[in-house]
């Protein structure tokens, strides 16, 4: 998750604020795609970490995995999840901010 965040390039500001709604939609669509990719990659990483932690937990219950490995995996999954939740909160806040904008 943190690695994915490091790859985030700053979004280019939308310059055509006065353009037609059609043009604005296409611009936001383009910016949205790259941001969606980032979120998808980060979410994928989180889900992968959770899956790995789950798998290791099951292996530990069967006596095949180290307690330490399980703790490592579960903790890293938890951290990824926390980061994902924090970013989701940020996105939702930004969306609400935009929706409250006076037209």
């Amino acid at each position: 998750m943190l690695q994915a965040l490091g790859a985030l390039t700053p979004l280019s500001p939308s310059s055509n604020a006065t353009a037609s709604s059609n043009a604005a939609a296409s611009t936001s669509g383009q910016v949205g795609a790259s941001f969606a990719d980032l979120v998808a990659a980060a979410a994928g990483h989180t889900v992968g970490a959770m899956r790995g932690a789950e798998q290791l937990s099951v292996e530990a219950l069967q006596g095949q995995a180290d307690v330490r490995e399980v703790v490592d995996a579960v903790m890293s999954a938890e951290q990824s999840f926390q980061a994902a939740v924090a970013i989701r909160d940020k996105i939702v806040t930004a969306y609400l901010e935009v929706s409250r904008m006076a037209i």
């Binding site: 943190l2 690695q3 490592d72 951290q79 924090a86 970013i87 909160d89």
Partner: protein, 138 residues
């Protein structure tokens, strides 16, 4: 790789190394009275463990790993037990070269090292969590 994540990884390898050490010590303690079963046979020989630094190529950190589990070459103490099945012609039995006092000191040291590594993991996790919390609403 992230420095704090590397710290977590290195401390985790420390946990692994110290638990291996505890395993070897427990073998020694459990076998402190294990003799041979034929006259004059060698008893259990004490095991020792050595560690070595290892470069983790993914993160660039130096982790610790178990280098070798060796056998302690010191002599076996003799004990006069004529009725024992491992007694030689003079009635002496070779006992394991395990000194429980040394083993207990080793247990304490392994314990302390394990705790120190656990503390590092706690601190690093705490720092990562606090950094993530920066994103939350103030």
């Amino acid at each position: 790789m992230d420095a704090l994540t590397t710290a977590l990884k290195v401390a985790s390898s420390g946990l692994s190394a110290q638990s291996q050490r505890l395993r070897v010590v427990s073998e020694n303690l459990a076998n402190a009275q294990s003799t041979g079963d034929t006259p004059g046979a060698d008893p259990y020989r004490r095991k020792t463990i050595t560690f070595a630094a290892e470069l983790d190529k993914v993160s660039g950190g130096s982790t610790v790993s178990v280098l070798k589990v060796n056998r302690d070459p010191t002599d076996f103490p003799l004990e006069y037990l004529p009725g024992h099945e491992a007694a030689d012609a003079n009635g002496y039995v070779k006992m394991p070269n395990v000194n429980p006092l040394i083993e207990m000191a080793d247990v304490s040291e392994a314990n302390r090292s394990y705790q120190a590594n656990l503390q590092v993991i706690k601190q690093a996790r705490n720092l990562i969590s606090m950094t993530i919390d920066l994103m939350r609403n103030q």
